[in-house]
């Protein structure tokens, strides 16, 4: 294995292994950005991992009034699940409980695709017969009377085959530098359209491996990257310089979007340099057995080093 060190940051000759998901984008608008954020944060809450959440989701970005169908500020949300059926279920529950309920909101499709998911199509029945539909420019909207006026929801949104589980492992000398590096990388990744980092703040500290010594568990701690297990677990992949590891997980609507996000994260970490504390970038994979999408770190290096 040849070394690849950029500005003091070592890049593993490894790859992130991602798997196919189903994804959608919805647009949530509200009277002001505060309420749009409330709706977006709630609807994408408890959506870090499909292991137990049913969906992985996040706020892709905030939208200015001139970017939304109704001229109000809004947020674009991305939601991912392992099947179209599960995604439909999660979408309906989350929009029904977190967007419909949030004052002044409306919800629209954020994707056009041949395959669609119900958006307002089923939620309209909350109107108890008072709901009315309106077709505007070939798009059907449902208007459900609610206590602050009217909840407007587009009938369906598009669904695409997506990519989940792109990742970067940031190996750092201490917690402060790991967090600072992770925050900078996530900020750079958020500028890439079509991706979300679904974990809290975009970062997960409890990276997992497939399986467990306990039969009831499908995933367990990634002991190879736990600093407290150096010298204890035979699988440890850490050396004495690493006291903290953070992982950034990326879900995207396309392979290229995930790759671009990983590239942006690597670039900012290399720019900060090893002296900032993150001295090595690795990636989580399962030997190529889990997912068909492989993101090789060294193919995602900054342009000057590619």
């Amino acid at each position: 294995m040849t070394d690849c060190v950029i500005n003091g940051v070592s890049i593993d000759e490894s790859f992130a292994e991602a798997f196919p998901m189903r994804g959608t984008r919805i647009i949530v608008t509200a009277h002001n950005i505060t309420w749009a954020r409330h709706a977006g944060q709630t609807a994408t809450g408890f959506a870090t991992s499909v292991i137990a959440c049913g969906a992985e989701a996040g706020i892709e970005r905030e939208l200015s009034p001139d970017e939304t169908p109704d001229g109000r500020p809004g947020v674009a949300l991305l939601l991912f699940a392992m099947s179209s059926k599960e995604l439909a279920k999660q979408l309906e529950r989350r929009v029904g409980q977190c967007v419909l309920t949030c004052p002044t909101t409306a919800v629209y499709a954020g994707l056009e695709a041949p395959e669609t998911l119900p958006l307002g199509k089923n939620l309209r029945f909350f109107g108890d017969g008072w709901q009315i539909s309106k077709v505007i420019d070939g798009v059907r909207y449902w208007r459900v009377p609610v206590m602050d006026g009217e909840f407007v929801a587009q009938e369906t949104t598009g669904m695409v085959k997506a990519v989940g589980g792109g990742n970067l492992l940031l190996l750092a000398r201490d917690t402060d530098s790991a967090l600072a590096g992770a925050e900078a990388a996530v900020a750079a990744m958020k500028a890439i359209p079509g991706v979300v980092m679904p974990f809290p703040g975009g970062v997960v500290r409890s990276g997992s491996k497939v399986g467990s010594k306990y039969k009831a568990l499908s995933a367990s701690t990634n002991d190879a990257y736990c600093p407290t297990l150096v010298g204890l677990t035979p699988k440890s992949d850490l050396d004495e310089r690493t006291a903290c590891v953070m992982e950034i997980v990326i879900d995207g609507l396309t392979f290229d979007a995930v790759a671009d996000a990983m590239r942006a994260g690597i670039a900012v970490l290399c720019e900060r340099g090893g002296a900032a504390g993150v001295h090595r970038i690795a990636a989580g994979n399962y030997g190529g057995k889990l997912g068909p999408f492989h993101f090789h770190l060294r193919q995602l290096l900054p342009k000057d080093h590619a």
Binding site: D70, R72, K134, I136, D137, G149, V152
Partner: protein, 274 residues
């Protein structure tokens, strides 16, 4: 490669002409002689297109037909059009764009009665006025306009959009009595003054008008916040009607809203801009 046909009227007909056979997509496959033999009814008399028009064509990307001359007695232009464009330079007769499915029909002049009746798609635009029953059902039928966009730059006659079910019908000028009567659904927008009995018996759908029309007591003034759907609707109308229409700037205005006709279910809505 297709054809753009130009048919120039040679002489004014004494009776009405039935021009339903003049379809751009059909003409695209015909030679000059074949096109000249297309049937045209003159009253009950069987005549040919060549008897009435000078025909010529040029190559074009898509099928197109231009009709020139005073065709105020030329009925059923663009009848059930399924593609291509028809442009009338001058007035058109009755049933202009009736049953239109796809493509576009445009006239630079006026159109007669039953323009756009039972159209299902595409775009119909009349630069002048239209007669009665525009966007309405054909006589004896149950549903009027069922889709597409119909824009009248001038005024409309009575019974505009009677029993209309879907699509957008925009009149920039005035409308006659009983506009949007028995409206089933869809959008009707009137930029000028509506006549009496506006939206009489409407079941669903949206009517947008200016001023303060005299409404039946079966229309209920609504309170509450409807700004979201108004933005969606008004932006669409402003886009369809264009920047020089009464509907330009519509999204910035705040309308009053009535629900009705309560005598027919009350799921329709009437938006009035002062």
């Amino acid at each position: 490669m297709s054809k753009h046909w130009t048919l120039r009227l040679k002489t004014a007909p004494a009776l009405r002409l039935d021009l339903r056979a003049l379809q751009p997509s059909a003409l695209a496959a015909l030679s000059h002689d074949e096109a000249a033999r297309l049937p045209v009814l003159h009253g009950n008399e069987r005549t040919s297109a060549g008897d009435w028009f000078d025909l010529s064509f040029t190559d074009a990307e898509t099928p197109a037909l231009t009709l020139q001359g005073d065709l105020s007695r030329g009925d059923r232009i663009g009848w059930c059009l399924a593609g291509g464009t028809v442009h009338v330079e001058g007035d058109a007769g009755d049933y202009l764009g009736a049953g239109l499915q796809q493509g576009a029909v445009h006239t630079s002049g006026h159109a007669g009665v039953l323009a756009g009746c039972e159209m299902r798609g595409g775009r119909l635009e009349v630069a002048g006025n239209v007669g009665d029953f525009a966007g309405a059902p054909l006589p004896g039928s149950m549903e009027g306009m069922r889709g597409g966009v119909f824009i009248v730059r001038g005024h409309a006659g009575e019974r505009l959009a009677d029993r209309m079910r879907r699509g957008s019908l925009i009149v920039c000028g005035d409308a006659g009595d009983f506009a949007a009567s028995r409206l089933v659904a869809g959008t009707v927008a009137i930029g000028g003054r509506p006549g009496a009995h506006l939206a009489h018996g409407m079941r669903r759908g949206s009517v947008v008008c200016f001023g303060t029309p005299a409404l039946a007591p079966t229309f209920n003034p609504m309170q509450g916040d409807h700004r979201v759907i108004w933005q969606l609707l008004s932006r669409d109308l402003a886009r369809l009607a264009g920047p020089h229409s009464p509907f330009a700037g519509l999204p910035a205005r705040q309308p009053r809203r009535w629900a009705g006709d309560l005598g027919a279910g009350g799921q329709g809505e009437l938006w009035c801009l002062a």
